[in-house]
């Protein structure tokens, strides 16, 4: 294998013949391979990614501080078991069990729904991204962030309320938050289920039979 010859075969009269020394580097290359394999498995060059969230505080807001949202702009997502997502828009009608609809996390499900409801903002974000990556490459990152924040903070944007159930898992929550980012929705909140939501969920699952027996929750 790898070897280095020292000296040479030069013979000079009267001088003792130099002997060629063979240094075998096989163990060294072997050790190098082992060390590289060790480092490849135990270390990482990339740092893990994170997704920031900010939760609302527990402090009670005064009546006038609470933000009023238009019914057409509000949608509530209920994260259920087995990666199912139920939703209703605006204020639900407790008499009708079809106000709660079912969808899933596939691109044709929740994402299509949210993109459709958030059409104008998604279109503006697409233009901005086009500008940043294609036409105006000199746009700085800060400017991009500032402008996207401005677009997403538009008063007419969708407001999403995410209510996970006890049957949902962590991946469902992260997927829901991910859809917020994909559909350019900046206004969302993670809150607990209320009795009304539980009622709607039971009602949908039993196709109205539950609602026929139990009384709808007080508003």
């Amino acid at each position: 294998m790898a070897s280095i010859e020292t000296g040479g075969g030069e013979e000079k009269k009267g001088k003792p013949k130099k002997q060629t020394l063979r240094v075998d580097f096989t163990p060294m290359v072997d050790m190098n391979m082992l060390l590289i394999t060790f480092f490849m498995f135990c270390t990482t060059l990339s740092k893990p990614q994170v997704m920031d969230i900010a939760m609302p505080t527990n402090e009670k807001l005064n009546e006038d501080e609470e933000v009023k949202v238009k019914e057409s702009k509000a949608i509530t997502l209920i994260l259920g078991e087995n990666d199912k997502v139920y939703y209703y828009t605006g204020i639900p009608n407790y008499e009708d069990y079809t106000t709660l609809k079912e969808t899933d996390f596939s691109p044709e499900g929740l994402r299509a729904l949210l993109l459709d409801r958030n059409k104008t903002i998604v279109a503006k974000m697409k233009e901005l991204k086009q500008e940043k990556f294609v036409t105006n490459k000199k746009m700085s990152d800060e400017e991009f962030q500032a402008r996207s924040k401005e677009i997403k903070g538009d008063k007419d944007g969708q407001v999403v309320v995410i209510k996970p159930t006890a049957d949902a898992n962590y991946a469902n929550l992260v997927d829901a938050l991910d859809e917020m980012q994909i559909c350019s929705i900046d206004k969302y909140a993670i809150v607990d289920m209320t009795e009304g939501d539980q009622f709607l969920l039971e009602n949908l699952k039993t196709k109205g039979a539950y609602g026929a027996q139990a009384a709808p929750p007080k508003k």
């Binding site: 900010a54 505080t57 996970p164 559909c183």
Partner: protein, 203 residues
Amino acid sequence: MGKIKVKKQSTFIDMTAMSDVTVLLLTFFMLTATFLPKEPVQVLTPASVSERKISEYNVLTILIDTQGRVFLNLDDDNAKKSVLQLMGQDYGITFNDKQVRSFIEQSHIGVPMSRMSAFLDMPLSAQDEEIKKMGVPTDSTNNQLTRWVKHAREIGGDNMQIAIKSDQTTPYPDVDKVMKILVAMKENRYSLVTTLKKMPEGL
């Protein structure tokens, strides 16, 4: 007998170039890579399109496994030492130097305070086995998680970031409990550790 001699064919491939490249690769890896922290339980984090990287220093990582057990990781060794002293004061336990060193060497915090002294006296390999079964208590009667995070925040200052790392299949109520504990402490901003997913086409 040896009458028949097989002619030895010596093949000399000059491997100098290859050993040269391997030495270079090795040096590169040794200098640039960071060791992955050893975790009591391996978790598979969910995917997200978020591209923001976690900050390098001053991060408190809360690891939640599939059974809802909570482990904490603080990357700054000095901060870890101070937090241990403060927790010891709260519960009236003092730790000797050997225990403090063992605490710093153990990558994650995941033992109730009542078992902490005995735990730190065990050798590291035994600790790894034990910690998997325990976890920081989070129930409302014995909420040690609040104290740990409070002290970590006191030592780490405002720059310290909190990250929650959990498995995809962890039931939501376990994560919710931790999030509610954080909100009760007025820690409203934190990050969720995710793996990278490509942004869908056309968006």
